[in-house]
Symmetry: C2
Subunit: 233 residues, 2 copies
């Protein structure tokens, strides 16, 4: 009984996610769904990524922030001059496709190339919910420990990319990059991986280049053929 | 509809939690439900706590470990010679009362004074599920950041105690103890708080003393009157 209800909820979510995906394709938008534990550094990585994207001028960003409560994160993003909206789930442990559908039009989608969705801090539940994104990106911070890909394999299986954050704390922990890379490969051999520190800036460039490359591919993939339109009177 | 189903699930959980609570009371057991993000240091704190409890001989522990997959954590505990069982939720984002009911008899409850339940790494969902515990204890690690009590207030409201872990990393972060204490007080003025580093041992004693004191109170509260029993033949 319980399982049946859960499946119905996911079916409904998938239908709305498909609608979101279609809408994002119309705007030729790359959409990245950022997922990770509370405090793994999602917002800080986002801030640094937005600053680099602005400097390099290759992709125009927008942000949807998800949190149980507060609008702190959207305010942090808005301070950078990047369009941002905040979803408060009021206790809900993940974003779902209907929430994204409800707020997407608050953003200037036409003037954007990449939409970042920062999910609720949670390494478990967001793995199950398609929001209509192009890729799920899982973040794992060094202080969380190198055993997480084997203990929380679902999100590593669902993700297209993994970012190991807070690399500046590596010398103060017993985190093994070798172990975490091995376990991520076991969970998902196709995972693209990055190691970086948003604080020091180390490793940010390959990550931002990856986003720009995907955004460019998305623009081409969804390009509508050139059609001669009648000039407006 | 979705909300109604969720309430039914919680009602069912609460009924089983009440049965667990009764069973634990019969054994005069203190039961602590440890909740925190993936990698906040639940298992490491538990290991150090068990070693100290053994040295001080004031309370005999047992452990139920909850993880999506693997039995790594229960193996870490069993290596210390402490009775431990592992629950694998296979993707489930929290433990529930029925899981605890199903495994509790695998532990020597009669020979224990305190049962630690290490929940699935998740700062959100476990807040809603009563397992029949005496207290929920929320862990927050320094690298997660000082904004978590305001962004994840539900678990801080539900908990009886909060432990700030990984204090040895404080110099390498911009974590403000003052800010986190203020926000925890706003969420829950009755929260008992501890700050410690399981790695260095700093701050462990007051935490262990608190457990021993609660365990002693639990033994007295549930003491059955002395009844003359017929000697077995």
């Amino acid at each position: 009984m319980q399982v049946k209800v859960f499946q119905n909820v996911l079916d409904a979510n998938d239908r709305i996610a498909a609608m979101n995906r279609k809408r994002f394709a119309e705007h030729r938008l790359l959409v990245l769904n950022l997922i990770g534990s509370p405090g793994c550094g999602k917002t800080t990585l986002l801030e640094k990524t937005l600053l680099l994207l602005r400097q390099r001028k290759a992709a125009r960003p927008g942000v949807i922030e998800g949190d149980l409560e507060t609008s702190r994160d959207a305010e942090r993003i808005a301070r950078l001059g990047v369009p941002a909206v905040q979803i408060n789930t009021q206790g809900g442990c993940h974003l779902d496709a209907a929430m994204i559908q409800a707020v997407a039009d608050e953003l200037p989608l036409k003037e954007m190339d990449v939409l970042f969705i920062e999910n609720v801090g949670n390494l478990v539940c967001p793995a199950d919910y398609d929001l209509g994104e192009s890729r799920k990106v899982v973040l794992l911070s060094v202080p969380e420990g190198d055993d997480k890909p084997s203990k929380y394999p679902y999100i590593f299986r669902a993700a297209g990319a993994a970012v190991i954050t807070k690399m500046d704390l590596l010398p103060h922990t017993d985190f093994s990059l070798e172990a975490v890379r091995r376990d991520m490969r076991i969970a998902n051999p196709d995972l693209v991986t990055f190691t970086l520190s948003a604080r020091t800036g180390e490793g940010l460039e390959p990550w931002v280049e990856w986003i720009e490359k995907l955004a460019a591919e998305t623009r081409i993939a969804h390009r509508t053929p050139n059609i001669e339109r009648p000039a407006s009177k």
